[in-house]
């Protein structure tokens, strides 16, 4: 929700910045037609440009991503004991215990496989 708000800020700020650029160009061409000297932009264009710049900067700052905490233990502190002991590398799916079952069918031995050919 906050992210979409920031995206809206960025989009509106960009449009506003573009509009102020267009206004500045219009003002410049008006001065050129009426053969006046350029002394400075009107105050409203300046205010609009600077305000939209700050708005877009704030939006970009929030959209860029979250800062993570830098102390080394910060993220380990958040994990619980149950997940701490959970080591996926040591999972066992297949072991000798299944040979004790009554329905166990032993795999064909290597010697039998060789005799087939």
């Amino acid at each position: 929700m906050a992210s979409s708000l920031n995206k809206m800020i960025i989009i509106v700020g960009f449009i506003s910045l573009f509009h102020s650029a267009y206004s500045a160009a219009q003002h410049r061409s008006y001065l050129r037609i009426t053969a006046q000297e350029f002394t400075g932009l009107p105050l409203d264009i300046v205010v609009q440009a600077v305000t939209s710049l700050f708005a877009v900067m704030w939006g970009v700052l929030n959209v860029a991503g979250n800062l993570r905490e830098i102390p080394a233990g910060a993220e380990l502190n958040a994990t619980k004991w149950d997940t701490q002991r959970n080591l996926p590398s040591f999972y066992i799916f297949n072991h000798r215990g299944k040979a004790l079952s009554s329905q166990y069918i032993p795999a064909s031995s290597k010697a039998e496989l060789e005799n087939l050919e």
Binding site: L17, S20, A21, A24, A25, R28, S29, Y30, R32, I33, T34, A35, F38, G40, L41, I45, V46, A49, V50, S52, L53, F54, V56, M57, W58, V60, L61, N62, A64, G65, N66, L67, R68, E69, I70, P71, A72, G73, A74, E75
Partner: protein, 134 residues
Amino acid sequence: MTTVVKTKDLKPEPAAYSEAALRNNGAVIEYCRTSMAALSGSTAGVLGLTSLYGFAFYIVSVVVLYIMFMVKTGPNWRKYHISRQALLTNSFFASLCTYVLFWTFIYGMVHVRKRSMCMACVCSARTEQQHTMQ
């Protein structure tokens, strides 16, 4: 005989930082800095700033970005940044290059480029001007 305690020996214990978090924060800050340089360069071009005013505007926008970082992290900035000063000065000149690039480009687009004007506008403006001169 007096014992001299060197201040060097009284350094605080080194703190351990998470490498991945540091790199992530650095990337976020770099992204913001680059965007800030491009955007403020465009704004400086729109405003038609020249010479030292443009560089002053760059410094102002760097400081504003720094203030925004401080506002975002709040009082516990130590959790996210090793040094507050590095936030202000890191890659200052690298972003300045981006800034100047956008500044000159947008300045040229807005203030220098001669756009084709409709003749009616030119004629009406000229006659208006002549009237005022008379």
